[in-house]
Symmetry: C2
Subunit: 167 residues, 2 copies
Amino acid sequence: MPSSARTADHTAEAFRRTLRAHGLKATPARIAVLTALARAPRPMSAQAVMDALPRNADQATVYRTFRTLKEKGVIRQIDLRHNHAHYEIAGAEEHHHLVCLQCGRVEDVDRCWIEDMQPAVLRRAKHFARITQHALEFYGICRSCAARERPSPRSTAKGSDIPLPSY
Amino acid sequence: MPSSARTADHTAEAFRRTLRAHGLKATPARIAVLTALARAPRPMSAQAVMDALPRNADQATVYRTFRTLKEKGVIRQIDLRHNHAHYEIAGAEEHHHLVCLQCGRVEDVDRCWIEDMQPAVLRRAKHFARITQHALEFYGICRSCAARERPSPRSTAKGSDIPLPSY
DNA sequence: AAATTATTTGCAAGTAATTCGCATTTAGGA
DNA sequence: TCCTAAATGCGAATTACTTGCAAATAATTT
Ligand SMILES: [Mn+2]
Ligand SMILES: [Mn+2]
Ligand SMILES: [Zn+2]
Ligand SMILES: [Zn+2]
């Protein structure tokens, strides 16, 4: 009996289908990245993925894979306040993380609660002594962007980036 | 009649007192950074702060000021998924942000709600067409760190950084 | 008010993370 | 099997941020 979504069909074949379904070529590199992410119990950094991949793991390819799969919604970027981005497979259940500001340790929070629930979150946690902060951001599309719908997807790099106040 | 906390005493004098209260020297640079953050309606990046500061605004000083004030809890770091950190004065009310994934626009959410409340958040929002994601992270101290309490505060840089799995 | 000193600053150089240009390879349809 | 758009790999570039160190200065102390 398969447990939950973490046990989903994270087989090479499944990934191959997912990629094709999104109109992407099912390359060894991409399948390897997805497999690494699927195996890891925590969000992974580019470096971690590269180390996990046996040989041929070019950084440019890994980063490009992250970007592509993130755009397609196959993986999710997680901010852990380390000095680099982390990614995890965008599995079914929405969940959050407990991040130690001192050592960086990360632990999943199985569901989405907040503030008043912090005591409860802490009680359920396995490795945390206390919670001192939490951050919540909503991401979506603003009115003006929705209006001129499709002015060019905001690539994470520069370009005619964020045409906005305060950088 | 002063409105809410955003109108708090964000005067140079008030900042001077705050700094001293935290055992820091009330330098022109620090007061200028705080004043810039106080004036801005949105979290600011280092670049934005430097541009806002009339003359003498060295990047090293701005970054060092961010780090120091963040450690003291005077300002708060905000992740907007742009390619750099943003900061805002850690005013009274805890609040979150609406971030446009396309153009980067940012808007405050006055209170802390979640998920089921997204429709309501969207209704209250002034500039958003839709919310497609939200991210919540809890920050605190993990058990092992709490145990050996004070092994050296995790500086944002490297060093004997995160002694953990997956980078 | 001048002397004292631990902090803080400014500048220049250094790093870490991520991106880009372009020649070469390859997945997958014809 | 051929063809071609898409993807890779390499190196160089960029960006965000940090650091070393000498000079400047805020807040004592006298
Ligand atoms: Mn997770
Ligand atoms: Mn805000
Ligand atoms: Zn927008
Ligand atoms: Zn810890």
